[in-house]
């Protein structure tokens, strides 16, 4: 067990810090939350900056233009960029972390050449067409229908929770090509151009008021069979191939952000007055903060253990589920403690006077999604119980 960074890792960190200190002051102003063309321009502009600095795709193999960094370097990259307040991966998320890696693993050389360099440079934005109204936690129940017509699939159906659909160029789309096959068979993975006729995008307004995701409707939309990746009816496997691409680094930025926010909560407690004392003088508040700090530190250590295990085994264990459940619930608790301190100042989503309250009120709403998105906490607990403990699946439900 060794927690020391090597001289090479320290050098990587120092170079990155220098580079960030150099480029971050020249960032354009952040666009408003619901101006999607501006958000696309901002996020892809940052991706371009990363590309020019040699930091695009730190986790991508060098043969596809990435940096091929070690897992520890990836950890350092995510830690340092988050601490420095660099832009989040944003609209590049699906391309860089899911569709791109799937293409690397499963696509033809021609398909790779057509998309990977463009994703890496920030020229191409992707979205993910997986979930449907009737296929959420039970994703394999998806029914978006595709009928083969000559050298095209004709697609009719609906996707939902599609992040960045309104600004994406391409969609990694799961379609049902064989309705007679069992649920996990009969699914095909295609690269779908979002400007295809017959596609309608209806943004969904979320709890925070903005439209991060959309419903996407397909009405006899046509896609060339040559856009298929992998074999027909083998799309479930194709989609799952990159399940572990991040190999334990998936929540590093979130952890670093949450750590910052916990520090800010301690500051807030010292700022909030209660008669002649501050909230910090209240031992129950300090205990809450101390408990959360212990859990944060442990999550950071657990992330390092997950990385070490992924390094040895090539694939991540179920450790990612542990981190996700813990940090999402911890962040929700953190914002509740903040609300206990803020009282009526929590009525406003922007700062009240000189009280730095807005970020906590905002995070209290935003964090509701973290225990739902990418596998609810309940599904994560099923995964932990079944994959780590070997407990049986529930019996199939039959109507009485």
């Amino acid at each position: 067990m060794d927690l020391r960074y090597t001289p090479q890792e320290e050098a990587f960190r120092a170079d990155l810090r220098d580079w960030l200190a150099n480029v971050l002051p020249d960032l354009p102003p952040q666009p408003s939350a619901d101006d999607w063309p501006a958000r696309r321009a901002y996020d892809t502009g940052w991706q371009r900056t990363l590309f020019e600095g040699g930091y695009a795709g730190v986790n991508w193999p060098t043969e596809y233009g990435g940096r091929g960094a070690t897992l520890t370097e990836q950890l350092i990259y995510l830690e340092e960029t988050t601490l420095a307040g660099a832009p989040y991966i944003g609209v590049n998320f699906v391309g860089m972390l899911h569709a791109g890696p799937t293409i690397m693993a499963e696509a033809s050389e021609g398909q790779k050449a057509a998309h990977l360099p463009a994703i890496l440079r920030g020229d191409e934005v992707w979205c993910q067409g997986f979930s449907e109204p009737s296929a959420g936690s039970d994703l394999a129940a998806l029914g978006c229908k595709a009928v083969l017509d000559g050298d095209e699939y004709v697609i009719t159906g609906q996707k939902t929770w599609t992040s960045f659909a309104q600004v994406a160029d391409w969609c990694e789309l799961l379609i049902r090509t064989d309705p007679a096959a069992s649920k996990h068979r009969g699914i095909t993975w295609v690269m779908f151009p979002m400007d295809t006729p017959g596609v309608e995008i209806r943004p969904l307004r979320t709890v925070v008021g903005t439209s991060e995701f959309s419903e996407v409707f397909f009405d006899e939309a046509r896609v060339a069979v040559s856009n298929r990746v992998g074999l027909e009816n083998d799309g479930w496997r194709v989609a799952m191939v990159t399940f572990g691409f991040e190999r334990g680094t998936g929540f590093v930025s979130d952890l670093v952000e949450t750590g910052k926010m916990l520090q800010e909560l301690a500051e807030l407690a010292k700022h909030v007055t209660r008669g002649s004392a501050t909230a910090w003088d209240d031992v129950s508040v300090r205990r809450d903060i101390g408990q959360m700090q212990a859990e944060m530190d442990a999550l950071w250590a657990l992330t390092k253990r997950n990385l070490a295990q992924a390094d040895r085994n090539g694939v991540p264990g179920a450790g990612g589920s542990l981190v996700k459940v813990c940090y999402s619930e911890l962040l929700q608790r953190l914002t509740e403690v903040a609300m206990e301190l803020l009282g009526r100042a929590g009525l406003s989503r922007t700062d009240v006077g000189d009280l730095p309250s807005g970020a906590f009120v905002e995070e209290r709403l935003r964090s509701l999604s973290f225990s739902i998105a990418a596998g609810t906490s309940q599904i994560q607990r099923n995964i932990i119980a079944e994959r780590i403990l070997g407990l049986p699946k529930e019996k199939p439900w039959t109507s009485s």
């Binding site: 927690l3 916990l262 205990r287 809450d288 700090q293 070490a308 459940v325 309940q378 407990l391």
Partner: protein, 324 residues
């Protein structure tokens, strides 16, 4: 950076586990209840295994390992629910004659502990008394000790000090006592981690064997989630406890105080949370003396206050964070 056990560490942990499985199955542990959990023969065997001389230099007859390895050993001894004044023999080997070879048994107390209770006090040779000035050792026979008739944990009998402590011989100074308290907290945390693990394993095994409504109760989602939470608490605690051990060995990788307090806090959460959940998974059987869950729970309860209760540790952590 590579935060996983190296081959030597994995072999050490496997060796201690194998010793415990052979020498300390739970029926052997239970059979020690009339003797107050103390078996001097076992103590010699643990000494031969190197448990009480793990961190002593090889030149002094020790094994020459660090806190990280001590943590792995304590975790395995915790899994086995090893009874006896283990913590103090692990801490004081090398400081008190006869401890490292298992011939002398020591119990320990904080001088200002208002409860005046001493675990295993009437069964040991010496008492180590800690205060901020250091550690002093007194003969157990020279301390007025009265047995408490009904200890919480049947394998952790307690005596109460009834008279002022004699002066005794100083064996460690102020700096060393601070190190011993930190190391002791991490060893207790590691033992608690082991309890959290065995509680989970027992609950899972029972839930697969016990059927109701024509299926194993471990297939019910409510119980699966209860047990998934046991895994979550265990793995958080494990990461914290291992990190604390590594940080004690090399303070350059973190903040020692913070790592130690967090490890002990989360290990207590895991041990107490998991043993309570195990009682629940066992249902009515979990409330019986026959099932081991109560022994695990009682040991976790008994160890929790040693070197800081959870509220004290949480407050200490807040103090450290609030200074940043």
């Amino acid at each position: 950076m590579d935060f996983e056990l190296n081959d030597d560490q994995a072999a050490l942990a496997a060796g201690v586990r194998s010793f415990c499985e052979g020498r300390l199955p739970i029926d052997v542990v239970r059979a020690l209840e009339p003797a107050g959990g103390v078996d001097r023969g076992l103590w010699r065997e643990l000494a031969d295994l190197g448990v009480f001389s793990l961190r002593l230099p090889e030149a002094d007859g020790g094994v020459g390992l660090g806190w990280a390895e001590s943590v792995l050993v304590a975790e395995e001894l915790g899994r086995a629910l090893t009874p006896g004044p283990l913590l103090w023999s692990q801490l004081l080997g090398g400081l008190v004659d006869g401890v490292a070879d298992g011939s002398v048994l020591v119990a320990g107390v904080e001088r200002d502990d208002p409860s005046g209770l001493v675990e295993y006090g009437g069964l040991v040779d010496h008492l180590a008394v800690l205060d901020d000035d250091g550690v002093r050792v007194v003969g157990a026979a020279d301390v007025g000790l009265e047995p408490q008739p009904l200890p919480l944990d049947p394998l952790t009998p307690v005596w109460r000090r009834t008279a002022p402590l004699p002066e005794g011989d100083q064996v460690a100074g102020p700096d060393e006592v601070a190190t011993l308290r930190r190391g002791g907290a991490v060893l207790v945390a590691a033992f608690l981690l082991g309890i959290a693990e065995v509680a989970t394993a027992d609950a899972v095994a029972y839930s697969l064997e016990r059927t109701q409504f024509d299926r194993p109760i471990g297939s019910f989602q409510s119980l699966k989630h209860l047990m998934a939470d046991m895994v979550i608490r265990t793995e958080l605690a494990r990461a914290a406890v291992y990190a604390a051990g590594v940080t004690l060995d090399d303070p350059s990788v973190g903040d020692v105080e913070r790592a130690v307090a967090g490890a002990k806090l989360l290990a207590a959460d895991a041990a107490i949370g998991n043993t309570k959940s195990s009682v629940q998974v066992h249902g009515g059987m979990g409330y019986t003396w026959e099932i081991d869950a109560h022994l695990q729970l009682k040991r976790a309860y008994a160890l929790e206050p040693t070197f800081g209760t959870r509220p004290e540790l949480a407050e200490r952590l807040a103090g450290l964070v609030g200074q940043l």
